[in-house]
Amino acid sequence: MNDKIENHLNNDLLKIPPKKFHVGQFVLQIVMIITAILYLFPFLMCVFYALKDRADIFNTLPIQPPTKIYFENFNEVVGKLKYFQIMGNTVIITAFSAIITVLFSSMIGYVISRTKKMYSNLLYYFFIVGLLIPYQAIFVPMYNWGGSLGFIDTFHGIIFFYVATSLPFGVFLMSSFMNTVPIEIEEAALVDGANKIKTFFKIVVPMLKPAIATLIITQSFIYWNDYLMPLLFLQSNELSTITIGINRLFDQYREYYQVAFAGIIISSIPVVIVCTMLQRFFIKGISMGAFKS
């Protein structure tokens, strides 16, 4: 009898399945690793190219690693690209465009969200229409008009048009976010005697932080990588942005890819580092931006 029970218990215990081997999961893991390798392949090629000297370029296949590590390409490209200058230009344009866009669109979003009047509705739709119009569809008249405003070859000109083209999304994002912010806190501040402008900057703007972060991230991304607008508006070499400078480099170094690839690496590493560090915010920003539109 006892034996029987023990036997039974043992059997039951043994019946607990051993940790199941998930075939599906294993296959998935392998597939994703292969995908990652394929994804990295172009980057590996960039590194190979950038670290070869001219002899190596001719004597080895592109998929072969350099026979000796050669850093001179990087030195050469920093000078040829005027690296620090074009980086600085791009930072200035991106930062000013993003900050002004945030400022203007939060002010307009505030008014739209806090006044429920005819004109605020009208204002809202006036800006929303712009969401359907990418600047790429009107860049020819934009260029001519910018020319008559004296905006060619100036930073304020390109910043002006960046802000103008970002406002539809900015106003949309800010006014819809503002609708979720309770009005009571502002009213309390107003009762306490703070004026409207002070209330806006001290109370409202801090509450808009998530929306502001989203706007800055999505728009900076666009400005940083944009090519067409600087191509039109920044024609002199001293004002070049990264995309323009790099593309000019490609044209100059048609035969010496190693230098161009060194340029690709040094111009994208800062962005990749910053974005990987800020990945958490970045991902939040992207998904928030996407769902709002």
Binding site: G24, Q25, L28, V31, M32, A36, Y39, P42, M45, Y49, L61, P62, I63, F104, S105, M107, I108, V111, T115, F126, F127, G130, L132, I133, A137, I138, F139, V140, P141, M142, N144, L149, F160, F161, V163, A164, T165, L167, V171, I197, F200, W224, N225, Y227, L228, I242, T243, I246, N247, Y257, F261, V271, V272, C275, Q279, K284, I286, S287, A290, F291
Partner: protein, 294 residues
């Protein structure tokens, strides 16, 4: 009296808040649109003082111009394949990275990194990959594949679709990941209790729950692909071979600055704008209906 004054003051401050943005938007966006429409009805060459009114001649010419028709058709095909492949792969990768596999964070970062690069750089990198790197694989493996997709008018579209997908799948994967992570886990458990398999879960929970994300991704990928420009500047050396990869924006650019016909370019721009609007409306309507059905 005081109340009235306060109210007026409030309105004044609101006006102060609106004006800067409104002026910039009006001057920077609306006037160019109106100007563009104006140019499109003339024969202006961009430099001379005279602009002759030619009515709809530019539009009529555009509809008959083989180069214009080809460019619109090319961009439309590019958009279609991108929207299809990018959505399917982005969603698949997102589901894979939402499962229990290892190293999700590093995988996500790797797949996402290309989206951080400017298309100008991506185009150049892939131009070399197609012309040098992949053909060198042939000599290693003793095979004879034709990898030079970008130098053949018949395969240039496929080559560009590959490049564009490599760049952007990670971006949309992140959007899908966020959507997947917002699906309540109880819903999956309910299906598991009912004995449902992966496919049941996908069809009955995942798909309906992430329908809004699918709408967003399809619409954004399409509008993004319509604006194809930077990539073809470097990947195919400004729309080559010949005009085989001349996207709409590149065509407008060439017409305006290459052959100095901003009026004709403006007409093409206006047609493009019209297409974008129609397209956006169709897509939104189609997907909104679908979402309700699901």
């Amino acid at each position: 009296m005081l109340l009235k004054k306060l109210k007026r003051r409030k309105e004044f401050i609101y006006l102060l808040f609106i004006l800067p943005g409104l002026i910039v938007y009006f001057v920077g966006m609306f006037i160019p649109i109106l100007n563009g429409f104006g140019y499109s009805l003339t024969d202006w060459d961009g430099l001379s003082e005279t602009k002759n009114f030619v009515g709809l001649a530019n539009y009529l010419e555009a509809f008959k111009d083989q180069r214009v028709v080809y460019s619109f058709w090319f961009t439309l095909k590019f958009t279609f394949w991108n929207a299809l492949i990018q959505n399917i792969l982005a969603l698949s990768f997102a589901i894979a990275l939402d499962s229990k596999i290892k190293g999700k964070k590093i995988l996500r970062t790797i797949i996402y990194i290309p989206a951080l690069l400017s298309p100008i750089l991506v185009g150049f990198i892939w131009n070399r990959i197609y012309t040098d790197v992949l053909p060198s694989l042939n000599s290693v493996m003793h095979t004879n594949f034709n990898f030079s997709l970008l130098s053949n008018p018949n395969t240039v579209l496929a080559g560009l679709v590959v490049v564009n997908n490599w760049q952007w799948i990670g971006y949309w994967m992140v959007v899908y990941l966020a959507a997947l992570q917002s699906v309540p886990i109880e819903l999956y458990e309910a299906i598991e209790i009912d004995g449902g398999n992966f496919w049941n879960k996908f069809k009955n929970v995942t798909l309906p729950m992430i329908a809004p994300a699918i709408t967003v991704c399809v619409v954004s990928i399409s509008t993004g692909s319509f604006k194809l420009f930077d990539l073809v500047v470097t990947a195919t050396k400004r729309g080559g071979p010949g005009h085989a990869s001349e996207s709409i924006i590149l065509l407008i650019y060439n017409m305006a600055f290459g052959v100095s016909r901003p009026s004709y370019a403006s007409a093409i721009s206006i047609v493009f704008l019209g297409c974008l609007m129609v397209f956006a409306m169709i897509q939104l309507k189609f997907f909104r209906n679908k979402e309700i059905q699901l």
